[in-house]
Symmetry: C2
Subunit: 163 residues, 2 copies
């Protein structure tokens, strides 16, 4: 669904360091589960509009089986504000708002809306950071879910594999 | 982000007629706007999981400029139930639930959650239907927004361009 892109939309100049494909590994933890390690691919794609297409998938490092997948849109706004709209394949809609500060994005959910059979989460906080040389993306995801307080759920480190 | 796919997941057998790429045109109407005509591409992709990746974009037939874009997941469940999780690029998260009946899907929103700068909508109803020969997809979208009651907003007809 990526379109050919010309000059970057002015709204995207503050997040151009995100654009591309990233691959790496992460670790999942939570009060209610056994820790697990996962492989991950993340793409932020310029589609010639004032937002980036976001797509992500993970797989088990133990057996290669697919785990999570999500897709959506990253919407930089004025004054360093930014929004992320996420559709999680587990049956959850997520709408986040936050800020961009240099190469760091902080997002907190303003709405987490599961389907009746979807995963249970009520609050999500995401932090995304890219290294000064542009080669490494690290993120953390904290989650309030299944009656547990907000706590670390995911942390991962990915390398740029494609501009 | 599409993965190579082997045998279709059993959950997808009831919606395999949707899988592929569709192109066509539609008409947008609403109490508060001038009617407009748009071109559209829709993709439903098998990613080897019990859900389909959904991606869509529209453009103006008047001047070719991009209009709307959304992406998400279609999740068939048991007993003819189905769920759609949508991230709208206009800054709206949408979670729908409904039913599959033959080649017809009826979905009504259970949550429509805009960002603080996102488009205003509070209720969405989608109907998607594919012709018996599998060549034509028609849909309608009704919307409650900007203080207006639920009413027709979009209707479109698309042809299969790729299996």
């Amino acid at each position: 669904m990526d379109g050919p892109s010309g000059a970057l939309h002015p709204f995207l100049r503050g997040v151009d360091w995100l654009i591309g494909t990233w691959e790496g590994t992460g670790r999942g933890i939570y009060a209610t589960i056994e820790p697990f390690d996962y492989g991950e691919e993340i793409r932020f794609s310029d589609v010639g509009r004032p937002f980036l297409l976001y797509a992500q998938r993970t797989w088990s490092l133990a057996d290669g089986q697919p785990l999570h997948a999500e897709t959506g849109w990253l919407r930089p706004r004025e004054d360093g504000r930014i929004e992320l709209i996420v559709a999680q394949a587990t049956g959850v809609g997520e709408v986040d708002e936050g800020t961009v500060d240099g190469r760091r994005i902080s997002l907190d959910s303003v709405a987490v809306t599961p389907t009746s059979t979807g995963a249970s989460a009520s609050q999500v906080s995401r932090r995304i950071e890219v290294s000064a040389d542009g080669s490494t993306l690290r993120y953390t995801l904290d989650m309030e879910a299944v009656g547990q307080p907000l706590q670390r759920h995911l942390e991962a480190e990915l390398r740029r594999v494609e501009a």
